[in-house]
Symmetry: C2
Subunit: 216 residues, 2 copies
């Protein structure tokens, strides 16, 4: 049994990002599921481990807690550099981080489960309101993302050249998440092409929600 | 006149983060304001520069566009390493990135202007609803942030030891933003103490919203 623990939920998009990175790096870990819809992440035993009560949370072999998917992935990339998830040059690294954060800061946080739940409880949002809200913020983010990918010389098979990295991880996890709300991907041919290239890779498949032990 | 341009809005919390980093690094830049409440960031001339139509956006001296405040700050830290905004050890860097992203991914995105505007237009949210929404997500993020700062051996005068860095930049910008919605800071003595230490520094003062050319 591994002494690295990933607190996790199969359908969490940010958990999926971290699982992909762990698979790409070949790092073995223990999968500890927390059913978000049942509120298992808010139980005292888990709050003692991670005061934020969110997933993913990585417990490293020395006992250190790291939360926040991008912080975890950059940590994995620094301690286990092969294959690299960020390019070598500062300008290229900035480009990849920008693409990743366009998803991780501007799309996902507004659409995650706790925000959608609040829209229901505070504003009485219906299922249709929720689906419209979700699609609105995906489109707000994917339109400029598609444009930047279309015009950037760095764009290749993946977001940056011919190898998958941090931005691709965020992109694929978001596209997977989109399917739950029927986002029309036709306006996004480059994002779709990159997603297909990612999903052809074993790490992305193995880490996918439907292949996790708590998948329903 | 500098050939580095920061597309900017004085009251934007993410713009404030980047201004602090530029001041700390002593990098001169041209300040180009976009009045978010007047929709100036959505004009075609700006969308041609930055398809996302958000601020901040940095145009580097070679013409490269970098958006996303954390991506910009890490870029500045990589090309201009003194004073460092991240610690040297991977585990410490992960800790600082985690703290920064607790604010940048879990608090700010849910509370920024375009989301608050959508709550009004889609769900008919009142001024009071908006203020409650804002305070709710700040408290959801600041409670665990305070706890982690209270128990982490890394916590010093600043989020990590005795020098300010990436997490402090996000913390101070968020605390400044909080004042607009009257967030009660009494439950957060450590965050308040770190914020005070930041605000005593010239870089944080010079970059503050009220000291920008477009301040109202």
């Amino acid at each position: 049994m591994s002494d690295i623990i990933l607190h996790n939920y199969y359908r969490s998009s940010t958990s999926y990002r971290v699982r992909i990175a762990l698979e790409m790096k070949g790092i073995h870990y223990r999968y500890v599921p927390h059913h978000l819809r049942h509120g298992e992440h808010l139980e005292p035993a888990y709050l003692a481990v991670n005061p934020q009560g969110l997933v993913p949370a990585l417990i490293w072999s020395d006992g250190a807690l790291i939360t926040q998917s991008l912080a975890i992935i950059e940590y994995l990339d620094e301690i286990s550099p092969e294959p690299p998830l960020l390019p070598r040059e500062a300008a290229d690294r900035a480009h990849v981080r920008m693409l990743a954060q366009m998803i991780a800061c501007d799309i996902h946080p507004v659409n995650n489960l706790r925000v959608l739940t609040s829209l229901r409880s505070v504003f009485g949002a219906s299922d249709e309101d929720i689906a419209n809200w979700f699609r609105h913020w995906v489109n707000e983010g994917f339109q400029p993302l598609e444009k930047i990918l279309a015009t950037s010389p760095q764009t290749g098979t993946f977001c940056h050249g011919e190898t998958p990295g941090l931005a691709d991880i965020c992109l694929a996890a978001q596209v997977t998440n989109n399917a739950r709300f029927g986002v029309d991907m036709e306006p996004y041919p480059i994002i779709s092409r990159i997603n297909a290239a990612c999903m052809a890779l074993p790490a992305f498949q193995k880490a996918a929600p439907q292949n996790q032990p708590d998948a329903e």
